[in-house]
């Protein structure tokens, strides 16, 4: 089994830069929702690290819920197609301010579907906070209200994001050199 040092291309975002940016995002979100009650929704599993660190920077009181999605048809949920809910919210979002926390947006299809689905439940507002935005991959317009970092179209891993289920624990975002990467059996 390879270690990430065998195939890493570069550290795209360092642990320090992530920390600093999350602190800024936390401040901004806290200001924007001041005096409001917020429901933070963590999209499993990629966003767990980001959500845990982001919510610690929030000074407003809020609730936390989780949601897990996949796409019909293809394996990875970044593909096109409808979204399947594996784990739905425990919270009724009707009349609530909702902040969706996602690790990465690329085509935008998944996010667009989730937003459309959540809006049918009549929340007061729904906003989106993503750590990484692969803008050049966008296929459908989707609203993203808080962005951690714009990243190039590279295969990224670390800080919650896996490469074949591994290396989510790394404190930084790395990009993989796929010519050096060997897919586990």
């Amino acid at each position: 089994m390879q270690n990430y040092t065998d195939f890493i291309d570069e550290v795209l975002v360092s642990a320090e830069d992530i920390k600093k940016r999350i602190s800024e995002l936390g401040g901004q979100i806290s200001r924007d929702y001041e005096g409001q009650e917020l429901l933070v929704v963590c999209l499993l599993r990629g966003a767990i690290t980001f959500t845990a660190d982001l919510t610690r920077q929030l000074t407003i009181s809020h609730e936390l819920d989780c949601m897990s999605l996949s796409s019909y048809g293809m394996g990875h949920y970044a593909s096109s197609g409808n979204v399947r809910v594996n784990l739905d919210l425990l919270t009724n979002i009707e009349g609530r301010h909702v902040l969706l926390v996602e690790d990465i947006v690329d085509s935008g299809r998944t996010l667009a579907h989730v937003l459309a689905m959540l809006r049918t439940r009549d929340p007061l507002s729904v906003r989106v906070c993503v750590l990484l935005d692969k803008k050049m991959r966008r296929e459908v317009p989707v609203q993203v209200d808080y962005i951690g970092f714009d990243v190039p179209d590279k295969y990224v891993f670390g800080y919650g994001i896996d490469i074949d289920e591994r290396f989510r624990h790394l404190p930084f975002i790395g990009s993989a050199d796929l010519s050096k990467y060997i897919r586990p059996a």
Binding site: M1, L64, C66
Partner: protein
């Protein structure tokens, strides 16, 4: 939601103490699983910050999965009775080394049921890592292989533990003064 400063009785475990202990637990895990691959299972939602901070110090190869459970009948999942899996693992754990990461073990009923259920899937090994252990409340024997802190039977919140769904994000574990807390 009421400001927590109004009902905070005391900070039971501060941020530095938590982080130091979590690092120690991770080092223990790294030693015990050296050369192995480990699947860390986060029991939602309470164990989220603990898992995230723990895994940052885990250096053995690892994968992360999540599981959500509730109890039949009573509202709180610390109740006795069978466990209902509301969100199951995406990973097939057969032949894998599995470490269940939990925020708190109280009566032990929930975790005992989960362990029993997961054992039927024939993992290579199955252990428990709990941040907090309310040992005095234990009603069934549960093996806890990695334990953050043994705490008294007090109503605690923060660091993943909620008070009516709020304040999971606090970086410390605190005790509620129930006389001052006003649920909405």
């Amino acid at each position: 939601m009421q400001d927590y400063h109004e009902f905070l009785a005391e900070i039971l475990i501060d941020k530095q103490t938590l982080q130091k202990r979590i690092r120690e637990l991770a080092e223990e895990i790294n030693r015990d699983y050296a050369g192995e691959e480990l699947l860390l299972i986060c029991i939602l939602r309470g164990a989220l910050p603990f898992l995230v901070d723990l895994m940052r110090h885990v250096t053995v190869l690892n994968a992360i999965d999540c599981m959500a459970i509730s109890s039949y009948g009573a509202g709180a999942r610390s109740a006795t009775g069978n466990v209902r899996v509301t969100y199951d693992l995406q990973t097939n754990i057969e032949g894998k080394h599995v470490l269940l990461v939990e925020d708190i073990v109280d009566s032990g009923h929930t975790i005992a049921h989960v362990l029993e259920m997961l054992q039927t899937r024939r993992p290579e090994s199955l252990k428990v890592c709990a941040l907090l252990d309310k040992a005095s409340r234990r009603e069934v024997v549960v093996p806890i292989h990695y334990r953050g802190f043994v705490i008294e039977n007090k109503f605690v919140f923060g660091y993943g533990l909620d008070i009516d769904e709020y304040y999971r994000n606090l970086p410390f574990v605190a005790v509620v003064d129930l006389e001052k807390y006003k649920p909405e």
